[in-house]
Assembly symmetry: C2
Homo-oligomer: 479 residues x 2
């Protein structure tokens, strides 16, 4: 028992069972533990450290663009949730209700926030007075609760962590600009930090946020060709403001309703990272958001000077600004290799007696297995360079996967035939009618992902109804 | 309306009504807004920015001492909360219960976490295997809910933000060391960041945390002489581990129960900062945790070059590593002075046409009103030095207030007489019996704050019962 070394954990291969592979990675890489309540999970240190890195990338960009963090209450009175009609219809069926406080039944039941538009509106109604107070650019880091029937770690939880930005503007134009500015920040973080290429676009009315005038999205593609929504940004017009009686005195002394946006990105994106970059050996993390960028593994630790050399190498890498750690545990190097591969650490540095004698170490890339031997005098520069290369290569591979798996269909039959293979996205024209969207779902099984900003002309007509097409649209199976 | 300038807001003086003064500061300094649910508040950008600064000071120290952040579920099944007898007795009467998920009644009701010991224990029971996994040093940033009857912003909310550290160790000694190590981090952050001197000590059994073997505290004194608990650290022994069936295989191959700690510090400390440093002009913030350290106020902005000079000064201060902002709003300088005093900004820089002509500006200290004129060539060095002086002076004033308001009593009558004046702490000896503690509460109205680490010999006997004293103890009225 105590003397027994841990066994290398095996995971299901992606080909054999993609869903089981995903679950295996999530648990064996020590990202998540299940709690006794379905859909509520524990984010373990390694999983949470990934989220902290995503947080810091986003938070920095939010602050650079003038946003301030706030904290709204956890609970929303039922009457407040009901103030905006579309919003309550969208969320009420899936909220958790607090009905008792201590031993007493509450006079009005309170829902655990599924999203906080109503709370921000209540607050703004209190504090907004004049045009001088605008814009109000707020963000909140928190968890929200949605009582889903089916749940999967990161992808669909009854509770998940996210940020929700909420802003208020004097004019519709400013609010619309904000909506797109924040979508661009999501695209930037997805592409440049998570190495996940995205398709920017607008959601159909069917798929938009409950209560929004327009919802924009960045859509990603997973290894299995399915879509994952990376982040969404909503323009509300002045609908909520009017429902919540929010107004301000404008420069011309008239009372006006302000215009509103909200935008959110959640821990779902960690599920996206796993399914964009992972392989049959486990997680593969992009260096920018990896909690540990380089793991130093000493070979033959019992030999004099090896542990010291490993620690010294780790210290040098840390001093060079890299997130490095050394694995001095009493497990075998083979176990350590496998375990650190499972955790997706981008770069492994091996150092043993022979390396030390030659003043060298071996660097091994997690993403493609490439090995090089470098002088210890040059290792920091080499490791830093390799991490940049890894980040770029990971993005490029994901980009190629995405773009080689978007298929264009001019007819309904073509679209249905592509969907039968259940691989990738389908691009068609669309007339803009809900009926055609529903028919695609019913017959082909795919939902609309977005009307991409990057519009193109495929044919003149909607392939479903044959009427004149208004735009091109992307369809897919989705998480 | 639109053309109308804002009026300087007046607040109640501390002498007139301390409680009202506190409420005025909390709202007029824009820290808090009330929601429609009693005890649930909005932390506005300025209030939350203070918390972010406290968070970053603590989080850095937690990580330096090897702790990792995690995220546990928000909800605890009733059966899980009940596993540790003392713990459930302490918390069950004041929790909020979720009983419905969507339209359906839940099979078991779930409480919104009032604290997360039970969740950490459930997780550890899943993942702990061998001595190699120990210690587990975890921390969580989150909000918790306790359904209090009386509520006050920051001081007592039905929801509040905090961090809760939870650790597991192979031996009792290690766990005890951890408990005191974390208490020392709280003392460090209170004294060196919040400029709040503390008394370190141990809580009596009556005042300790539900389920703990020992609770340690750092106690602060407010302007009105009342006590506020700055942070607490608990040693649990192996009680929870046994209740939750957590064990590990030790080096000698035997199964053992691990030893546990938890420790927490909350947004209550912001209430403490307000009541330690505030004055009749509003908030006074210690520079280390002030969201804005220097506010630059241009005088006569309509004159050519003034706004530019103010912005350039602000840029120079920012480049020098200070948190500076410039107030270019169209309010009068007088309004700006008052508003930035209300917000407790440590240093004000005034710059007008005459200053510009002389290449100077005026720096004004928030804490004592001291004004100096400095050359713009030297302003960054001067401001940085003044902020350090302010931080030190604020600590010293609070230290003097604390130590000049601790009164020693050798007899019960003396203690009761001091308590009648309702000012400051009372130090006596104590026999250790609950009965004497209850009698002090009943007759003198004070509760035990702690048995200070810094023990002294006042007399041989307990002033309440006359029996042999075991230790010295500090009493006070408390928030």
């Amino acid at each position: 028992m105590a003397g027994e070394k841990k066994q290398v954990e095996r995971i299901t291969s992606m080909k054999e069972d993609f869903a089981q592979w995903y679950t295996d990675v999530v648990t064996k890489a020590e990202l998540i533990d299940y709690s006794s309540v379905k859909g509520l999970t524990v984010m373990r240190p390694y999983g949470f450290a990934i989220w902290e890195n995503i947080q810091s990338q986003l938070d920095r960009r939010f602050k650079q663009t003038g946003h301030q963090n706030v904290q709204m209450p956890l609970l929303i009175p039922e009457s407040l949730l009901q103030k905006e009609k579309d919003h309550v219809e969208g969320f009420a069926p899936e909220v958790a209700w607090v009905t008792m406080g201590g031993e007493e039944k509450l006079p009005e039941r309170l829902c655990v926030r599924p999203t906080s538009e109503t709370l921000f509106c209540e607050h703004w109604q209190h504090v907004l007075q004049s045009w001088r107070d605008l814009p109000m650019l707020y963000n909140q880091w928190c968890s929200v609760v949605r009582w889903e029937k089916t749940t999967r770690p990161f992808l669909r939880g009854r509770e998940f962590l996210w940020q929700e930005g909420h802003t208020l503007h004097a004019t519709a134009e400013e609010a619309k600009e904000e909506t797109l500015r924040m979508l661009e920040i999501y695209a930037d973080v997805a592409e440049n930090c998570m190495a996940m290429p995205v398709i920017r676009g607008r959601k159909t009315d069917k798929e938009k946020f409950a209560g929004a005038e327009a919802t924009y999205t960045v859509e990603c593609m997973m290894h299995d060709g399915k879509a994952l929504q990376g982040g969404t940004s909503h323009y509300f017009g002045d609908g909520f403001a009017k429902a919540f009686d929010i107004c301000f005195t404008d420069k011309d002394n008239k009372l006006r309703a302000p215009f509103q946006t909200s935008w959110g990105l959640s821990t779902r994106t960690i599920g996206g990272i796993i399914m964009t970059h992972g392989d049959d050996n486990g997680l593969v993390l992009p260096p920018v958001i990896a909690p540990v960028q380089v793991v130093v593994i000493p070979i033959a630790t019992h030999k004099a000077g090896v542990a010291e050399a490993a620690m010294s190498l780790c210290g040098a890498l840390t001093d060079a600004g890299l997130r490095a750690k050394v694995d001095l545990s009493d497990q075998s190097p083979g176990w350590k290799f496998a375990q650190n591969e499972m955790k997706g650490i981008p770069l492994r540095a091996e150092i043993g007696p022979k390396d030390i004698a030659e003043n060298r170490c071996v660097l091994v890339r997690r993403d493609n297995g490439e090995k090089i031997s470098v002088s210890l005098d040059d290792v920091c520069r080499a490791a830093t360079g390799m991490l940049t290369t890894i980040q770029g290569d990971m993005y490029k591979r994901a980009y190629d996967h995405l773009h080689s798996n978007i298929r264009t269909a001019s007819t309904f039959e073509e679209a249905v035939a592509i969907a039968k293979n259940e691989i990738g996205f389908i691009k068609t024209m669309w007339c803009g009618d809900l009926e055609c969207e529903l028919k695609m779902k019913e017959v082909a099984g795919v939902s609309s992902r977005c009307m991409p900003f990057d519009q193109e002309h495929i044919s003149d007509n909607c392939p479903v109804c044959g009427r004149e097409a208004k735009c091109s649209i992307i369809w897919g199976f989705a998480y």
